[in-house]
Amino acid sequence: GRRFLISEIHFILLFSRQGKLRLQKWYTTLPDKEKKKIVREIVQIILARHQKTSSFVDWKDLKLVYKRYASLYFCCAIEDQDNELLTLEVVHRYVELLDRYFGNVCELDIIFNFEKAYFILDEFIIGGEVQDTSKRSAVKAIEDSDMLQETVEEYMNKPAF
């Protein structure tokens, strides 16, 4: 029979080499408890993999596509029939977008500006589907919102609690 195509990213996880979760984005509805279980399981699976293995792991009915950038792992869960190589480039494009926004993005940027990392991801992917692959359009919306660039002084005058 003909296969039923669902090209959809089910979820995206960002975690450190120490296994600390830095960002999670779910495109399927699951109870929180289940999500925590899945995160634990997947972090364990990926961290246990050796270097020079493929970037793909079968996991349940899905496939995990992952890549490490410096200290951070980016991992997407996709449908079994979905395009693995292109998913790797989804990850890469996201890293480029972060890089463009933060300028040489590092793990700390994502920790301290997790909400921005979410916004950038949302501009790029909606409901698990790539919305716009052009680098320009994706970051534009976020940069627009940052137009009111504040000075260090203004920032330091804000309450620290």
């Binding site: 029979g1 003909r2 296969r3 039923f4 195509l5 669902i6 090209s7 959809e8 979760l21 960002l23 999670q24 495109y27 509805t29 929180d32 925590k36 050796h50 020079k52 293995t53 493929s54 970037s55 793909f56 079968d58 079994d80 029939q81 395009n83 693995e84 190589l85 292109l86 790797l88 480039e89 890469h92 940027d109 920790i111 301290f112 500006n113 909400e115 979410y118 949302d122 909606i126 409901g127 589907e129 790539v130 919305q131 716009d132 692959t133 052009s134 320009r136 359009s137 919306a141 627009d144 919102s145 137009m147 009111l148 660039q149 920032y155 330091m156 804000k158 309450p159 620290a160 609690f161």
Partner: protein, 926 residues
């Protein structure tokens, strides 16, 4: 501290995150978080109204705490307040919180929906974008109810900004996935298709995703998208790498859009229009050609994007399965990748070749790579890649290479990763059975499986080997000898003890002539394993012992001594104790004749799809284990649409043709058609059912009742292939040297023979087994002697009850007198009508309200049976129609399909005309 926060930075948040990071222990972290939670609670509850900035900051802190893995049960209201802020950054945080911490409080949802409605109506593209993202992120039914009607309008409106169109398309896609029933098709669908022509590639990309998903369920409605997609694709693949500017990714023109278009085309068969088809073929050839060109960049991004398009093109070529030239080119391309230095490409090539292997055009081309694949199995360092190699070997296996592939898989199994052992075991078992020319090879393979990976050999596998041995008398002696030898190993797997116990219990007599495997030695060997085994295995062994009492009367007393021992008769396990008591008693009081009857050899198992294959399908999901032969089989059985009241002429009966014998067992002898009373029988009965239910009925199939899921068994009738013509000579050969066996079998009916002869007189019992779950009506078997035959053979047949219940068996006795020698055989003619159930599928004429439906069924006069149907949404009713002359039992089942707004109504009564009429009457009522 971060160097500088961009935009409207939240200093308090940054300080809090720093504090958390500086915590030395988990306890300190929890303490700091609790302090913060208390602080935020008091701020939210305080008398002083918070300004937007503070609200945003605290909501953001809650979000951070949640992401650390703590539960958050407040703050939703403050987040909702932020939604109505006019400041983008505050609104944004509000939406983020709502999306991450979805709440099902209905009052809250009302407020959220209200805010979204306002933003959608604001005509401010950034606000509209935020609202659409939120709908897509949450994707709940409530949101679908509220916005599924509105979003298509935004999507196709002429004045909608491109960025909003993209968000609207993907938002609608998400809603369609979660609640397809709530997204109405309409005028907008044709306008969405035309978005494929849009100037803005971002809009085309988003629209293609939407159309692909919609087209999967409504192919007719979106048919026009095929030619548009082909021309769009053609423009992309022929464009220069700089033409598409921002949409060129590392010198590859619009890889995302290309892949999505190729995906969309996989929802349809090859285009009918020769011009479109030609253009598509050109595109695919161009993509294949480009793979041979030198790379435009050394970056992995370039090759990934390029190959992503290539693999998707190959998927489309495989999906169309119609251009031998493209298929072979695809196979050659993948063959190159099999030896590529990039692990990812090797992985994907193996995966993609699996599907190529199932095309008749490329199967042979795939097979030429067998050595490379076997080598991958041996040398790849990545378990994911090895797994793909196993899959491919399985897919490319056929009669010509089965022995080699099975041997390599067994070899690999010795060291295989634990995670994939069970699957390899299943695959080996299936291949060994499917391609067994010589069943001794099959038996050896399965025993090897148990030896190498006993723990991973599931019940299905060892049940199956027993079924096959029982159904094939040519392998029984070999099997007995082989298990006997395997059991000699000092430490053998318990599964081997099970198989060994079962087989020796049935066929131990076949090797008992050899003094090295005399009855006593066989018994002692099995009993030496007894105490190491689990309860179910011990139970099985006890059944073997009682079978030995019948097979080998000379060791009866030894066995009785064992059964009589305290460890058996007083066993704490009830099952074991009961077996010991009953078997001991049976062996003591029953005469040899009774023992021989009760403990007779097991009858052959009915031919059904291998339960192992079913298990593998379940494990891997449907579609992944179909292979060439299955596809061929599907095609051939599709051709035979109908079979009117089935009529079988025994002079021309058949066994299934070899090509249809996918995993069937071939013809099999029958020794005893009644289910054996010995409880050992029940251990195998459940083999064919999906669930591993512990309590199995003694007769397979006898539990079919009205509530069983396969109610629609009348469908079985129409699937029955009509090509059951076969050489009658084969039947003769079957019964030359024995008196009992299966004469004929198809999906509906099994006919068994049992006969005894004394001098010139004979008596033959013909057993007719109804294999369906419905009654046969007007069942009339007649034995006809031709005019030439009549003077030589005198036959008397007794009439048979014209109704045969589903799953039941009737017997017919034929008394035979041989007057003089004869050549020709009598003819057995059987006619019956299996149809007695009536079914109708119809559109709901009234709202599908369960309570009203129940009231109607009760009002109709039948009793409503709750909790009878495994699907709680279905309605089941029963009643009796009383007439002066007869009573007619009626059963009905009504299956609603809310999504399609349809019902399926099934009526089964003891009279067909009544079923028909009731079905007509009731079909109008719902």
């Amino acid at each position: 501290m971060p160097a500088v926060s961009k935009g409207d930075g939240m200093r308090g948040l940054a300080v809090f995150i720093s504090d958390i990071r500086n915590c030395k222990s988990k306890e300190a972290e929890i303490k700091r978080i609790n302090k913060e939670l208390a602080n935020i609670r008091s701020k939210f509850k305080g008398d002083k109204a918070l300004d937007g900035y503070s609200k945003k900051k605290y909501v953001c802190k809650l979000l951070f705490i949640f992401l650390l893995g703590h539960d958050i049960d407040f703050g939703h209201m403050e987040a909702v307040n932020l939604l109505s802020s006019n400041r983008y950054t505050e609104k944004q945080i509000g939406y983020l919180f709502i999306s991450v911490l979805v709440n099902s409080n209905s009052e809250l949802i009302r407020l959220i929906n209200n805010a979204i409605k306002n933003d959608l109506a604001s005509r401010n593209p950034t606000f509209m974008g935020l609202a659409l993202h939120c709908i897509a992120n949450v994707g709940s039914r409530e949101m679908a109810e509220a916005f599924a009607g509105e979003i298509p309008k935004i999507l196709v409106a002429g004045d909608t900004m491109d960025s909003v169109k993209q968000s609207a398309a993907l938002c609608l896609l998400r809603l369609y996935r979660t609640s397809p029933d709530l997204v109405p098709m309409g005028d907008w669908t044709s306008r969405v298709v035309h978005l494929l022509n849009d100037q803005h590639l971002g809009v085309v990309t988003a629209a293609t995703s939407l159309i692909t998903t919609l087209a999967q369920k409504n192919p007719e409605e979106f048919k026009t998208s095929v030619s548009l997609a082909v021309s769009r694709l053609s423009r992309i693949v022929t464009s220069a790498s700089t033409d598409l500017q921002d949409y060129t990714y590392y010198f590859v023109p619009a890889p995302w859009l290309s892949v999505k278009l190729l995906r969309l085309l996989q929802c349809y068969p090859p285009p009918e229009d020769p011009a479109v088809r030609g253009r598509l073929t050109e595109c695919l050839e161009t993509i294949l050609n480009k793979a041979q060109e030198p790379p435009k960049s050394k970056k992995v991004q370039h090759s990934n994007a390029k190959n992503a398009v290539l693999f998707e093109a190959i998927s489309l070529i495989i999906h169309h399965d119609s251009e031998p030239n493209l298929l072979v080119r695809a196979c050659n391309q993948l063959g190159q990748f099999l030896q590529h230095r990039e692990t990812n490409l090797r992985y994907l090539a193996l995966e993609s070749m699996c599907t190529l292997a199932s095309s008749e055009f490329s199967h042979e081309a795939v097979k030429t790579h067998i050595e490379t694949v076997i080598n991958a199995l041996k040398t790849e360092r990545d378990v994911s890649v090895r797994q793909r190699a196993v899959d491919l070997l399985y897919a490319m296996c056929d009669r010509s290479n089965a022995q080699q592939i099975v041997a390599e898989m067994l070899n690999y199994l010795e060291t295989a990763d634990y995670s994939i052992r069970e699957e390899i075991v299943l695959k080996v078992a299936i291949l060994a059975e499917k391609y067994a020319v010589d069943y001794t090879w099959y038996v050896d393979t399965i025993l090897n499986l148990i030896r190498i990976a006993g723990d991973y050999v599931s019940e299905e596998v060892w049940y199956r080997v027993i079924q096959i041995v029982i159904n094939r008398d040519d392998v029984q002696g070999y099997a007995a000898k082989t298990v006997f030898e395997a059991l000699q190993a000092p430490a053998c797997h318990e599964n081997l003890v099970k198989v060994g116990g079962y087989i020796l219990g049935e066929f131990g007599n076949l090797i008992a002539g050899d003094p090295r495997s005399s009855p006593l030695i066989q018994f002692n060997l099995l009993h030496s394993k007894f105490h190491l085994c689990s309860v179910p295995t011990r139970a099985l062994l006890l059944s073997t012992y009682i079978k030995f009492v019948n097979l080998f009367p000379e060791i009866k007393t030894t066995i009785q001594d064992v059964l009589r021992s305290d460890s058996q008769l007083k066993n704490a396990d009830v099952e074991l104790q009961q077996r010991a008591v009953e078997y001991l008693r049976l062996s003591t009081i029953a005469s040899t004749d009774i023992l021989a009857t009760v403990l007779e050899e097991m009858p052959p198992f009915p031919e059904r799809e291998s339960s192992i294959l079913a298990k593998l399908k379940k494990k891997k999901g449907p579609g992944t284990v179909t292979d060439l032969e299955e596809i061929k089989k599907e095609r051939s059985s599709d051709m035979n649409g109908s079979a009117e009241p089935a009529s079988v002429n025994a002079s021309a009966v058949s066994t299934p043709s070899p090509s249809a014998d996918l995993l069937g067992l071939g013809a099999a002898p029958l020794t005893n058609s009644a289910p054996p009373p010995s409880s050992s029988g029940s251990l195998l009965v459940d083999v064919f059912s999906d669930s591993a239910s512990a309590v199995a009925p003694l007769a397979p199939g006898s539990d079919d009742n009205f509530a069983s899921p396969d109610l629609a068994s009348s469908e079985v009738v129409s699937e029955e292939p009509a090509d059951t013509v076969h050489d009658a000579d084969e039947l003769f050969h079957k019964f030359v040297c024995k008196n009992n066996g299966v004469l004929f079998e198809n999906q509906l009916l099994q006919i068994g023979l049992k006969s005894e002869f004394r001098q010139n007189l004979g008596r033959m019992f013909i057993f007719y087994g109804n294999k369906t779950s419905t009654q046969f009506l007007n069942f009339t078997p007649t034995v006809i002697c031709s005019d030439d035959l009549q003077p030589s053979l005198n036959l008397q047949t007794k009439p048979v009850d014209p109704t045969v219940d589903g799953g039941a068996q009737v017997q017919q006795v034929v008394n035979i007198e041989c007057v003089s020698d004869f050549m020709e055989a009598p003819i057995l003619n059987i006619q019956f009508s299996p149809k007695q159930e009536v079914q109708n599928i119809f559109k709901a004429k009234h709202p599908m309200d369960a309570e009203i439906t129940k009231a109607k069924i009760i009002g109709f006069g039948s009793a409503l049976l709750e909790e009878v149907d495994p699907n709680p949404a279905n309605f089941v009713g029963a009643g009796i129609i009383h007439t002066k002359t007869t009573q007619i039992g009626c059963l009905l089942r009504l299956e609603p399909n809310l999504q399609a707004q349809m019902y399926r109504l099934t009526l089964r009564t003891s009279k067909e005309a009544v079923s028909q009429r009731l079905c007509e009457l009731l079909s109008e009522q719902f």
